[in-house]
Symmetry: C2
């Protein structure tokens, strides 16, 4: 395509409010434009990349036997009432009323809609398993949209749903999807980790998140430095490492006031409320309490910290649940400041002095801890969540009465899995991994154009003629070529070319009359003079060396 | 694809509320499902067809040099305020408020958004012309959604926009689009007419609608029986046919009451209000007044009929505008009942007795009238509007201050064109033209699968083995094949096959052991026995004969 005819509004200046490299460079390269907070247009260059990502996704999803369909963005509120999510989802769910006063959600996710679509059809075990997917615009009214496409309010998502009559069938689909996701992200050129993630206490069982590694990532991944182990920070199990005998206890001492502590190990108490219970959890003061682990141990979907209230954990009310982190099992001399009494306890032996009902793994893992699989040491990395596979189980089918008849003619709820990929997020993640200060350096599989043909001075007849000839030649060879035929200063052209980031640059300049051009990879600074007779093989050799 | 694994919820019964063939058959064939009034899901079969239509559109749009982009569905209200359309558009515009209380429109059309996107970039005549398009879900809160996808509230549309610095440049783009549209609809197999349409008095100039011929169509097309002439009913000009001398007048007579009329030609008066004027239009009582023509003659964007008021047209107030249809120019003896006076006028000579300020073409054309191009006689047909090309001019660029600098450095508003295709409507229109009572008969270019391979009894080992072998063979030959491998009764299978409507059926039945299959075109009743050695050539011969 001729650049003079294209809509590529590059920006010289760094946009002030763009906090991440992907946000900044997608704007500067003319790939996207913001229309409102968290709402973007994909301009021709950006949309070319989106379509390439979508093609990769389609090929791999079709390969699993999944069928593409397209559900509407407007979802009747009645469906969300069936599962109770109309009330639970909160302000992130965009809602609107039609001219007749009927309420709709703008699809943030599609479980209700797909379950309503299949529940009449999937009435027999003979029709199972079944797998469907869609690539669709989704809506979530994020409180603080940021990082451009990374946390937007309108975004493109691939969501897939599978339906089964057994846990084994779901398991097979789950791992088929898992491996398809690996292929998708590999084909996009991404460095990523598939990490264990939290499925919540109610609903699913297994779930993995696919995290693209990037400093800007909002999630922390705990991974082993010497094995494949990776988990979301909140999911990483802490090994009980201290197998040594507990030391001797000393008599409990109580001193009024908040005393300085030395010798004893300081512990802290964290209070929570669930729908039914009040809970206190003791952990070492240097450790960080992990709400997700507390929630999972309590087998509840909701816990709220009680921050401003400070009941007495030493002499608790009768019905308070008292938990402690595993670490306390091995401690005989701890210290604790009890705010209620304004007193500090010394030589507190948790087992002896606290009415602990259960020890469990309730803290966040730390860098330097042993890896939970026993191999290596835990390190942290930041990740951008680009996909998730999830065993839903029967949460939605039960709520929405989506049943099939099994071989014995008995009605059972469909067993479901759901699987998401953030398409626009994937674009951002690729940006975070493939750029330098001057702009994008696209991997071959996603580059909007493979070759950027740059005519240094198009007013020069020889340069223009040679460029025109090479443009046709490269197109005939099957390359996707962007020809900068614009009458702009060379400085502008080269700056734009770096922003746009095509993998290979073919530069037609002063030596056009001698049939010599310059060839460069976008990621290198070096340009190599090449005669046009050797250009074809030089380009294919160069492409071989690139991601 | 194996039918046993596909989501094709066919329906035996005719859905009660489906008024049109396309609506009924898209539901019955398992192509779509309704989620709410005017809101549908495209199931795997239906979405395969949608994607084929989109591919044709993309190829032809790219061929015009237009660039694909994707704008968001959520459009900030501020943009619609700039053009005043937030207030003018009415209840068809879906609106919502985000969590911060900011208003958005769900895109019904994209003029505001695209103008806001390009206005900073297209700052020089050097960057013009430019052409962009998108294929996107659109929203319109139709009061009475009907006919399935034909008048839905959420639908897929291709909208394109071009930007120019001269009327000639716009004209070229307009006709390029016009011809691209012709190719698109031809490739979809549609019988259609490109018809002159109303552009409204303000805004654009030229506009054509593309109407697919179908009895269910909501628009009436007036076309010549012996030329290419075609126009929307309201746009078809009426020729002044009566060139004969006016007959002699007789003295005006006034008789009280509403008298029977014979001899004289009865005329009627129609009253309208514009933003500034009151207007009365006289036409022959047997003719139908054409509001659009009245509006265009008055060069206004709004007229309202005054139905309940009956001012005196014979003795009108001083500032009333008095118009008459061309037909009255040639009449000397007409009769008129004046309600205000409750009196009938006889021998009324319009020229002599009415203070007519202007004669013009103000009535609807009728079947049997001469064609406006002078060739042939006008006939009527019903059409489904599937596309429109429109010269917008500077309506949006002026309102939104989208200007470019011309060669003299003078700021001028961008000249715009816009061009739409209803993608889901096109699917419906194809259905209306390609079906019989039993289901769809898809044209080859859009068929979800070219070949339906039907195993009559998959429990029979010979039938199943041969089917499996033929399935692989046909796939290897590059055909898109749906294999009905389901353990269903033959009657169910053949009924489903007719509903699904693949162009070619390959039936593996009792003669499987003899390596004989049956071949049929979906549109014929006849099945032909073919040996499997001759199958390949028989299929390609058969396909040659089909649309």
């Amino acid at each position: 395509m001729k650049q003079s005819q294209m809509f590529i509004p590059t920006m010289k200046e760094k946009p002030a409010d763009a906090e991440s490299a992907s946000h900044r460079l997608l704007l500067r390269g003319g790939f996207i434009r913001q229309n409102a907070a968290g709402i973007y247009s994909y301009l021709p260059l950006g949309y070319k990349i989106i379509k390439k990502i979508e093609t990769i996704i389609r090929e791999e999803m079709d390969g699993t036997g999944s069928q593409e369909l397209l559900m509407p963005a407007m979802q009747p509120a009645e469906l969300w009432h069936e599962t109770g999510r109309w009330d639970v989802y909160g302000p992130e769910l965009m809602r609107l009323k039609d001219r007749h006063g009927r309420y709709f959600a703008l699809g943030a996710t599609g479980e209700e809609l797909i379950t309503s679509l299949v529940r009449d059809f999937l009435n027999s075990y003979k029709k199972l398993p079944m797998s469907v997917y869609q690539i669709q615009t989704k809506f979530r009214d994020e409180k603080r949209p940021r990082f451009g496409l990374l946390r937007g309010r309108e975004f493109i998502m691939k969501d897939a749903y599978t339906f089964h009559d057994s846990a084994e069938s779901l398991d097979k689909a789950y791992w088929d999807m898992y491996h398809a996701y690996c292929r998708i992200f590999e084909r996009c050129g991404l460095k990523y980790r598939a990490v264990l993630a939290d499925s919540g206490a109610i609903g699913g069982k297994d779930t993995h998140e696919f995290q693209a590694l990037a400093d800007i990532g909002e999630d922390t991944i705990a991974y082993s430095d010497s094995s494949d182990y990776a988990a979301n920070l909140e999911m990483a199990a802490v090994l009980e490492t201290d197998g040594s005998e507990k030391g001797d206890s000393l008599p409990l001492e109580k001193v009024s006031g908040n005393q300085e502590i030395s010798g004893d190990i300081k512990i802290a108490a964290h209070w929570f409320k669930t729908r039914t219970d009040t809970v206190v959890v003791f952990i070492k003061a240097e450790d960080e309490i992990n709400d997700v682990k507390v929630k999972n141990v309590l087998n509840t979907d909701l816990i709220e910290p009680l921050e401003d209230v400070n009941p007495d954990p030493i002499n608790p009310e009768k019905d308070v649940l008292i938990f402690a982190d595993n670490a306390l099992k091995h401690l005989s001399r701890t210290a604790f400041y009890n705010k209620t009494e304004d007193a500090t306890y010394f030589h507190l032996d948790p087992d002896r002095d606290l009415s602990i009902q259960q020890y469990d793994d309730l803290r966040f893992i730390k860098e330097g801890d042993l890896s939970p699989d026993g191999q290596g040491i835990i390190k942290f990395a930041r990740g951008i969540e680009i996909g998730q596979v999830f065993k839903l189980g029967t949460k939605y089918s039960e709520a929405m009465n989506a049943t099939y008849l099994d071989a014995d003619g008995k009605a059972k709820p469909l067993i479901m899995g759901c699987y998401g990929i953030g398409v626009s997020r994937t674009l951002s993640a690729v940006c975070e991994q493939y750029h330098d200060d001057n702009g994008m350096i696209w991997p071959k599989s996603l580059a909007p154009f493979t070759i950027h043909l740059i005519t240094v001075n198009p007013k020069n007849e020889e340069q223009f003629k040679l460029s025109d000839q090479l443009y046709q030649q490269l197109l005939n060879q099957g390359y996707d070529v962007l020809w900068d035929d614009r009458r702009e200063r060379p400085g502008v052209k080269f700056a734009d070319s770096e922003l746009i980031g095509c993998p290979v640059q073919v530069i037609v300049g002063k030596k056009a009359a001698e049939n010599i051009i310059e060839l460069a990879a976008r990621r290198e600074k070096e340009r190599v003079e090449t005669s046009i007779s050797e250009m074809a093989s030089a380009i294919s050799d160069l492409l071989e060396t690139l991601d």
